[in-house]
Structure formats: structure tokens, C-alpha cells
């Protein structure tokens, strides 16, 4: 069976072709779930956020411009959905954590459940802080660092040069670090 481009499937899905919509879902769903996991650190949340994204796609498909990339539009919807989820949990993130515990977070993965929990919490704070960035810095930071996408593909999707993306990425990381400035230096 020949794989059809997402734009072709999306155009058919707009005409209430449910088979086309199902085929449209098959490709990106696993990637969307992985992306949502990078935002939330939890598979259940990742499933719910991915499902919510597809529901929004189904209901707002008439707003998609067929002249533009469906994948870019899809991931933009998904990113906003993940950020909305993070914003709702920012209240919890703003609660003062034990500074000692935060500062002693290990750099890599740990077998210690507590360490993993602390790492997950720090990760959520980092992503929440991305909301304080400028729009261009936020787009670069979330796509490259939060979603682990290829830098050159992101530059092309955003319509900027690779060099410009790198500079923007550096500025975004610096700003996030300032927002989460640890009291001590690197462990």
C-alpha cells in the first residue's frame, strides 16, 4: 500500500473521509506520544495529551491551510497542548522546593527513584520556565531542546538560517538557566 503524503490524507479527511483520517493518525501518533513524554515525563499524560491533540485536529481540520505543511500545523497544536498542560501545573511548580534537594540533582539518570522524581520535577520547571522566553526563543528552545528535533529541520520549518537558530538557542538556554539559577554551581 502506497503511503500518501499527510497533506493528501488531511485534504481527504476534511471531506469527512474517516479512513483517510485514520491513516493520517498512524504515522505521527507514536512520535507525538514521545514528544508529550518529554514534556510530562509520564506515559499516561503523554497518551491523554496526544489523544487531545488528535481530537483538536479532527474538529479544527477546516482551519488547516492546505498550502502549508500539515505536520508543522500538527506539531504546533501538540506543542500548545503540552504547554497548556505545563501551565496548569506551574502552580505546583512554583511551590518552593527544598533547595538542597534541587541543587544536588544528578546530571544523568539514576536508579534511585527519589533522584528520578527530582529530575522529573526539575525537568518540568525547566519547561515551565520556557513560557517566560520571547516567542522566537521559545519556539527554538521547545522544538530543539524540549522535543529533541533536528536543528537544521527546525531552522527550515521556522524559515530561519541555521546560524540564526544556534544563536537563538544559546540565548534561550541562558535565559532559562537564569530563571532557574541554582544557589550553588554545577554539581
Amino acid at each position: 500500500m502506497v503511503e500518501q503524503a499527510p497533506e493528501i490524507l488531511a485534504a481527504r479527511a476534511r471531506e469527512s473521509d474517516e479512513a483517510a483520517f485514520r491513516a493520517l493518525m498512524e504515522g505521527p501518533t507514536r512520535t507525538l506520544m514521545a514528544t508529550a513524554f518529554r514534556y510530562t515525563g509520564d506515559w499516561e499524560w503523554a497518551r491523554d495529551l496526544t489523544q487531545d491533540t488528535w481530537v483538536r485536529v479532527y474538529r479544527k481540520l477546516d482551519r488547516w491551510d492546505p498550502k502549508r505543511s500539515f505536520t508543522v500545523w500538527l506539531y504546533a497544536l501538540h506543542r500548545n497542548r503540552c504547554l497548556d498542560h505545563l501551565r496548569r501545573s506551574w502552580v505546583r511548580l512554583e511551590e518552593p522546593a527544598e533547595p538542597d534537594r534541587v541543587e544536588r540533582l544528578p546530571a544523568g539518570e539514576s536508579d534511585d527513584p527519589l533522584a528520578r522524581l527530582e529530575r522529573r520535577e526539575f525537568r518540568r520547571r525547566v519547561l515551565a520556565a520556557a513560557g517566560e522566553l520571547s516567542p522566537s526563543q521559545r519556539e527554538v528552545f521547545l522544538r530543539v531542546d524540549a522535543e529533541d528535533r533536528d536543528q537544521r529541520e527546525v531552522a527550515e520549518a521556522l524559515g530561519i538560517r541555521y546560524g540564526t537558530l544556534r544563536v537563538t538557542q544559546h540565548a534561550a538556554r541562558k535565559r532559562v538557566a537564569e530563571l532557574l539559577r541554582p544557589e550553588e554551581g554545577m554539581a
Binding site: A46, Q51, L105, R166, H170, P182
Partner: protein, 251 residues
């Protein structure tokens, strides 16, 4: 890495530091710089906490059960939104079913009624044939009242009626031979007393009347009745053979 590591170099090489692709010497120099620069150390922590697990690894690790049921869950959630597009479809389907059921029932009823109609028509034809037979003049003599004739049966039927119209009386008079008794005195009295006997009704009966008492000394009513008859001498009531007493008795 030979150039001196500063914040610009550190930022440029940070990805390689975190993913482990730097040689040992370069890694050592960058870590040494981060040890003395809080801003670069903070950037390193941000990058490290987001680096793992990679997107590619997560795509492999995503639970199949959560991925595979995604379409069904999405469709279940959007189902209420799909209905308004064609709300008339289920209504049309239900109406079609009701129409088919009613049509089938009506078809059965029509069949039953048609069968009944056929039976009634056959029965009606049979009755008409009987009436026609009764009304047909008997063979051999017009108006024969022999016991086996239809006219006899007709007269017998009329004789048993409680009331009789002038038309029927006229018919009787037409069927019964002239020399036969038509009405007994009692019957005539009943007729004259009953509401069916209207002066001024039918005219003179065909073939004339025979037997029975007649009024005397009184002019016949104008316009009809049994018509003017010449006075006749009184004749005793007698029973003519073969002529039924039109008082209801059987011959």
C-alpha cells in the same frame, strides 16, 4: 579542542559535551570552564535534564497498548460532533423500517379483504340466482301457482309477511289466477287496519281481484285503492284447491 574555552565556545560545544561525542581533552576543558562559570553551569544542567531520554528512544519505548487504541478513543470522543452532520439519517432509517412494516401489514389485510370480497360476491351471485329463480315465471303457464313452481314460493313468502305493500299486493294479484282466493277476510281486515294500506295507493290490480268481501254502498276512493269494482253477490268463503290461503297457512 585547542582554542581557549570561553562562554561562546562552551555554548557552541555544549551539545557534544552532553551527548558524549567530545574527546576527553575537550570534555575536560569544558568541564573546567563550567566549574568557574555559573551561567555556563546552569546551561549545562538545563541541557542535561532535557537531553535524555532521546526522542528516538522514547518512540521505541512508547507502550503499544496506549498507541494502538488511539484512533478508537479519538473517534469515541468526537462521536457527538459527527452526528449533527446528518441528523436525518437515523430518523430516515427508522421511518423506512416503520413504513416497511406498515406496508407488509396492509398488504396482508388487503389480501384478506380481497378474499372476503370474493366470497361475498359468490354468495351474492348465488342469492341473486335464487331470487331470479323465484321471480321467474314457472314453465307451462304464466303465473302458475302449482306447489312446485317459483311463483308458488314467492306467494308463500309474501303470505307470511306481517305487512305487505301495495306493490307486493299487486304482484300477488297478478300471479294468482283470477278464480282463486287472494285474501281472506281476516287478512283483508289486517291490511285495511294497518299503516301499509293507504287509500289512494296503487291502482287496479292486474287481472282483477277475486274473492273476498267487497264493500258495498260506498264509492271507491278517488285516485286509487283497489279501484272501482262492480258490486258482486256475496260468496261464501271457500278454499280453492291448490291456492294457498294467504293467511299464512301452508298448502
Amino acid at each position: 579542542m585547542t582554542e581557549r574555552v570561553d562562554c561562546r565556545v562552551f555554548a557552541d560545544q555544549l551539545d557534544r559535551l552532553v551527548d558524549g561525542s567530545l574527546p576527553d581533552e575537550g570534555r575536560r576543558q569544558l568541564l573546567a570552564h563550567a566549574g568557574g562559570c555559573r551561567e555556563c553551569a546552569g546551561q549545562r544542567r538545563v541541557k542535561e535534564v532535557l537531553a535524555t531520554p532521546s526522542l528516538e528512544a522514547l518512540e521505541r519505548e512508547a507502550p503499544d497498548a496506549l498507541v494502538e487504541g488511539m484512533y478508537s478513543r479519538v473517534m469515541a470522543e468526537v462521536a457527538p460532533a459527527r452526528r449533527p452532520e446528518r441528523p436525518w439519517v437515523p430518523l430516515l432509517a427508522a421511518a423506512t423500517v416503520v413504513l416497511l412494516v406498515c406496508t407488509g401489514w396492509l398488504g396482508l389485510r388487503v389480501g384478506e379483504l380481497q378474499e372476503r370480497e370474493t366470497r361475498l360476491e359468490l354468495e351474492l351471485d348465488a342469492q341473486r340466482a335464487r331470487v331470479a329463480a323465484l321471480s321467474r315465471p314457472a314453465s307451462g303457464a304464466a303465473g302458475s301457482t302449482s306447489p312446485a313452481s317459483g311463483a308458488w314460493l314467492r306467494l308463500l313468502a309474501l303470505s307470511r309477511q306481517e305487512t305487505i305493500t301495495v306493490t307486493e299486493l299487486t304482484e300477488i294479484l297478478g300471479r294468482v289466477p283470477r278464480n282463486r282466493l287472494v285474501l281472506t277476510e281476516d287478512r283483508l281486515r289486517l291490511l285495511r287496519a294497518g299503516p301499509a294500506f293507504r287509500p289512494g295507493g296503487c291502482g287496479r290490480p292486474p287481472g282483477g281481484a277475486a274473492g273476498g268481501r267487497r264493500r258495498q254502498g260506498r264509492d271507491p276512493p278517488a285516485g286509487g285503492g283497489l279501484g272501482p269494482n262492480p258490486p258482486e253477490p256475496h260468496r261464501p268463503h271457500r278454499r280453492a284447491g291448490g291456492t294457498p290461503e294467504l293467511n299464512g297457512d301452508d298448502p
